[in-house]
């Protein structure tokens, strides 16, 4: 039942606060867009560089999100349903990459990729692991996998265990139960989480700064390209790419709301 929103100072205050913060955000975007100007907007939006960066961001985020889902769905399910030794320890460790700064992830990845067997791989094939687009994927995956598992756990937590118990009692195997009962019920939550994870991967930058460094056109996904151009004093690129990023985020969030509107994750 919806509360009456008129006739009291408290609802008015709450709505007023919401409206003012919204106004601040809208002002942020519009003032920057005005700063850029219409002529420059057309110019930068029609450059191929912009859309190359855009697609690079989209496809890297998509690939790393799908890897994250491979890990995140089973892991989230395990954390949500099964009792196994050190379960709480596992859960806390899985939360770590969410809490610590992605910069730490970037720095620690160095530690792994310069040791066996990776040093051997890079020696044998004559490439530098981490200095190409696979380094970008690795950073995005490492940062988002935990996030994904966490969100999946929340989605699975919302589904009563009773349904699985019924499915088992009717003779379905755990695997069949998972695919026929749990997954369809968690669908909304999973899709919503997926979009959040995707947005998180697309926004990753700190880890990349430490672990990969930018090669133009190869590893500079949008947040990184914005940083590069900021350093080059190219305010036109900075502003126009930020606007594209914001549009990307807005459409991701709207998609999430549309698809997973009734899920309990967000």
């Amino acid at each position: 039942m919806a509360l009456r929103s008129r006739g009291g100072w408290w609802p008015a205050l709450c709505i007023g606060i919401t409206a003012s913060i919204l106004a601040v955000y809208i002002l942020l975007v519009t003032s920057n867009w005005i700063y850029l100007g219409w002529h420059d907007t057309l110019y930068f939006f029609s450059k191929s560089r912009m859309w190359e960066r855009f697609w690079l961001t989209v496809w890297t985020a998509t690939v790393s999100t799908s890897f994250s889902l491979f890990i995140g769905i089973p892991a989230g399910y395990a954390l949500s349903r099964f009792r196994f030794p050190c379960r709480y320890l596992f859960a806390s460790i899985i939360d770590l990459p969410i809490v610590v700064s992605p910069a730490v992830v970037g720095a620690f990845l160095f530690g792994i990729t310069t040791r066996f067997p990776f040093d051997w791989i890079s020696e044998y094939y004559g490439i530098y692991i981490s200095r190409n687009v696979y380094g970008v994927l690795l950073v995005q995956f490492t940062v988002t996998a935990a996030f994904c598992a966490r969100l999946m756990k929340a989605s699975f937590d919302m589904i009563p265990v009773r349904f699985e118990a019924v499915s088992h009692s009717l003779g379905a195997s755990p695997l069949r139960t998972f695919f026929k009962v749990v997954l369809p019920m968690a669908k909304n939550g999973i899709i919503a989480s997926m979009i959040v994870v995707w947005a998180r991967a697309a926004a990753e930058w700190e880890g990349l700064m430490l672990f990969v460094g930018a090669t133009e056109g190869k590893t500079d996904i949008m947040p990184f390209a914005i940083y590069l151009d900021w350093n080059g004093g190219m305010m036109g690129w900075v502003t126009s790419m930020s606007i594209v990023c914001i549009l990307m985020a807005v459409s991701a969030i709207s998609a999430m709301k549309l698809i997973g509107g009734r899920s309990n994750v967000w």
């Binding site: 094939y125 490439i127 200095r131 088992h168 755990p174 930018a214 080059g232």
Partner: protein
């Protein structure tokens, strides 16, 4: 319920198997994709962010001439490199934004054949920049000490320009007063450029190569000789270079007349000899011509009628035309 948990053990085992399989696939995907790289030689070039535009141009020319060599940059702030190189032991060439960072690598033994006499392709020169129109009428170093001037300083711990601010104002004997005027402690040099562009500060000192990025929105004021800093910008081949021969080839190209000319297009000083005192301040007018070009370039971007010729702006035509194209700079 008991049955449910019992059966879940089997499932847990399977999940472990699936997890392992996915991890294995992820790792093996490295093998697959890396295999295709076999034929080309890819150099990894650690370079300071500030050199991006000049080095991208050099890369384009170099790759055209040597089709079997590809140059991959890892652009970062110069302060990040020592940690990166120490940890990863990767990379072929190294070109940070100041000799200081390169010397750190030399001290740690990452660069063995660095020759400070010959391995300097270009120099930074310090200039004063103020917001468009120079509202506080800054003309000389001494003006920074006037009360009420908002000065932007660099943090000496994180960027080389900070050290030079300190050096310059100490030499002029106004360091204490300037410190009182300081309203910004920048972590990197573009921060100073952006602050000036957006009128957050009234004046600051930056490299000419930074000033040239903001031609439309700042005024450029050359500094008199005794306070004009000349900063050496070195390049070196790292000890653990995978393709030593090719790296040397690229380094030779950077140090060649042609390579230096590319740096000159981005407002670096490239005179082979610039007489400096012990602290690195200019002794004569070797860089005067470059300063004149830079001031004219700022005029040319702001004023459509200003002639864009080799005589007025030297090699800066590329920068001027780029910034004239749009109101907010891009390329």
């Amino acid at each position: 319920m008991k049955n449910f948990f019992k059966s879940s053990k089997g499932k847990e085992f399977m999940m472990k198997l699936i997890n392992n399989l996915v991890v294995f696939l992820f790792i093996s995907s490295f093998f697959l994709v890396t295999h295709t790289y076999g034929g080309e030689k890819r150099l990894l070039f650690h370079a300071g962010l500030g050199q991006r535009m000049a080095l991208n141009e050099i890369k384009a020319v170099f790759e055209k001439r040597n089709p079997d060599i590809k140059v991959n940059f890892s652009y970062k702030g110069s302060g990040y490199f020592i940690a990166d190189i120490t940890r990863s032991k990767q990379g072929d060439l190294f070109m940070p934004g100041e000799e200081f960072y390169l010397m750190q690598a030399v001290e740690r033994g990452f660069l063995t054949d660095y020759d400070p006499k010959t391995d300097i392709p270009a120099y930074f020169v310090t200039v004063i920049i103020t917001p468009k129109g120079n509202p506080k009428n800054i003309k000389r170093i001494e003006d920074f000490a006037r009360p009420g001037i908002k000065v932007g300083l660099g943090n000496p711990r994180s960027c080389a320009i900070g050290i030079w601010h300190q050096k310059t104002f100490r030499k002029a004997g106004i360091w204490d007063k300037v410190k009182e005027n300081a309203t910004l402690s920048a972590k990197c040099i573009p921060e100073l450029g952006n602050a000036t562009q957006h009128r957050a500060i009234d004046a600051t000192i930056v490299w000419a190569t930074t000033a040239v990025l903001y031609l439309r929105d700042v005024e450029i004021i050359p500094i008199e000789h005794k306070y004009r800093g000349i900063i050496r910008l070195p390049v070196g081949v790292l000890k653990f270079a995978r393709y030593r021969e090719e790296s040397q080839k690229l380094m030779d190209f950077i140090l060649s007349v042609e390579g230096r000319a590319i740096f000159h297009k981005h407002a670096y000083a490239i005179n082979p000899v610039i007489p400096v005192d012990k602290q690195g301040f200019c002794l004569d007018g070797t860089t005067d011509k470059d300063m004149e070009y830079l001031v004219n370039a700022a005029k040319a971007v702001k004023d459509e009628s200003f002639p864009v010729t080799k005589e007025t702006i030297g090699d800066l035509a590329g920068q001027v035309l780029r910034q004239k194209k749009t109101k907010r700079a891009g390329d």
